[in-house]
Amino acid sequence: MICITILSGKGGTGKTSVAASFGYLAGKRAVLCDCDVDASNLALVAGAQDIQSREYSGGKVAVIDQEACLGCGACAQVCHFDAIEKNGSKYRIETASCEGCGYCPRVCSFNAICMVERKSGDIFIGQTRFDSAIVYAELSIGAENSGKLSTQVRRLADEIAEETDAEVIIIDGPPGVSCPAIAAATGVNYILFVSEPTLSGISDLERAMEMSGKLKIPAGVLVNRADINEILSTKIKEITTRAGNDFWRTMPLSSDFVRAVRNGKTVLEETDDERITSVLTQTWRSISERFQKWQ
């Protein structure tokens, strides 16, 4: 079984459109996995039926018993997260700011503070329109996206792939380069970056490739909307090759992407433009064949 993550650095370059298209091409041989847990969109185009959900709690949160609190303020003095505020003559926890470190109950002389489980999100498992399984999540409002929920989503996708003898896990990753992106990329066989020829796109791609380089994972780049700026597209090719990564192909700017999303379909199902269909099909074939040969 192989595992491929779609990333970009910058948001909105077309990660989900590419991941969903690969899911369409792979059909039931794949498990789809959406690791962008605070803005999860893959299921909107891949479809998700017969959904099962489970709550996920990661970490704890402090609660101050207002009856037992005598308002001494020792807790507020030790909190480094500004999570404890005055509530009349007592103190209370601002839950969204609490890091769950458990320091405050240790300094409370009146045993007024306890640590309780904090719900950090829901994980959903469903079946796509392509007869594959899909795993995705929804982070609770303002919860810390430490990558723990993404890691849970990946673990579940692994289990399902194992049980169903799936050949490939396709992971739709989050933007950025910190913990959530690292959680989506760690230990996968290949990272495909979807980029765009803008200065922002290039700056973010360079940072993202530095991250994948540190993780020592082979990577490649697909350029979306190449005709917005051909000079910068060529520059992306240069920096990709210089970083030792594969430069796959370029796709043109096309309103077919937006139309497909609006119709809840993958772009492959909605477009007749061969500059898009052939690029996605050939890139998918090349990447998956490369790994099948190695297995």
Binding site: A39, V177, T198, R259
Partner: protein, 287 residues
């Protein structure tokens, strides 16, 4: 903020900041998307201050340690292993809560600064100051740097008597974007007319709604054929205060790091509408 990435947060934040500065306002723009800071690409600017951003993490002092092993129990994040003869700190798991350091009976775990990125301050022109937080690659926790950059911007804005403080927030709906929101007086949700834009914006909206802050929607890359945003705005009673039509020339201009608002009347118009709404909200009028 936006929820979804790539919908135009930076375009709106930068062009709004420059628009207000051109009109004589004193403006501070802060890029709080520390993982992928891009606002600076659109500004001609001069560096006036640069500082390392640090977090404090415990460092084990063997000579002071009495090997009581309590530190391991103090840590809720498994970042400390107290072995019979050693104590090991795992920095990537540490949340800088200070519990181990301050509760250690032998003071053997002093907190030591560790660089996670940098915060830079620039002058753009006499009306516009720009502050950027930039996370070092390989650092896992972005929200601490978001908080530090935000607080630096708040201090500067106060000290310099700024009229406008504009935060360009991170995508997503987790704490990195929340940190920007909670210190704002009003929130502009930038979105695009697709189910992705709607879905992610609605998650960001839930967070803003819970805070009770005034909030409005700006539709970027607008094109006919999708009514989802309007329906959402009606149901949730959030105003759509401006629309910026999709424009391939603007996209090309953006690609090379330029947003010449003057050349795009529709954008200019949207910025004026945003300013009016913000003035209305700040003077206590009906949003």
């Amino acid at each position: 903020m936006s929820g979804k990435g790539g919908v135009g947060k930076t375009t709106v934040a930068v062009s709004f900041a420059t628009h207000m500065a051109r009109r004589g306002g004193k403006v501070l723009l802060a890029d709080l998307d520390v993982e992928e800071p891009n606002a600076g690409l659109f500004l001609e600017k001069q560096l006036i201050d640069s500082a390392d951003a640090v977090v404090y993490r415990p460092q084990w002092k063997e000579d002071l340690c009495i090997l009581c092993g309590k530190c391991q129990g103090f840590c809720a994040f498994n970042a400390i292993a107290a072995l019979p003869k050693y104590v090991i700190v795992f920095p990537e798991l540490c949340h800088s809560c200070y519990a181990c350091s301050e509760l250690c009976p032998a003071s053997a775990l002093p907190m030591i600064p560790v660089r996670i990125g940098q915060i830079q301050q620039y002058s753009v022109n006499e009306h516009l100051v720009f502050i950027e937080g930039r996370l070092d690659i390989g650092q896992e926790i972005a929200s601490i740097l978001v908080r530090q950059t935000r607080d630096k911007a708040l201090q500067e804005a106060q000290a310099a008597g700024m009229q406008w403080l504009v935060f360009d927030a991170a995508p997503g709906t987790a704490c990195a974007s929340r940190e920007a929101m909670i210190k704002s007086d009003a929130v502009i949700l930038v979105t695009e007319p697709t189910p992705f834009g709607l879905h992610d914006m609605s998650l960001a909206f839930r967070m803003v709604k819970a805070s009770g802050k005034p909030c409005a929607i700006v539709v970027n890359k607008d094109s006919p054929g999708y009514a989802g945003i309007e329906q959402f705005a009606r149901e949730e009673q959030v105003p759509i205060i401006a629309r910026i039509p999709y424009n391939s020339e603007l996209a090309q201009s953006y690609s090379v790091g330029s947003i010449p608002t003057g050349a795009f009347p529709a954008l200019e118009d949207a910025l004026s509408r945003i300013a009016s709404w913000l003035l209305e909200v700040s003077t206590g009028g009906q949003p």
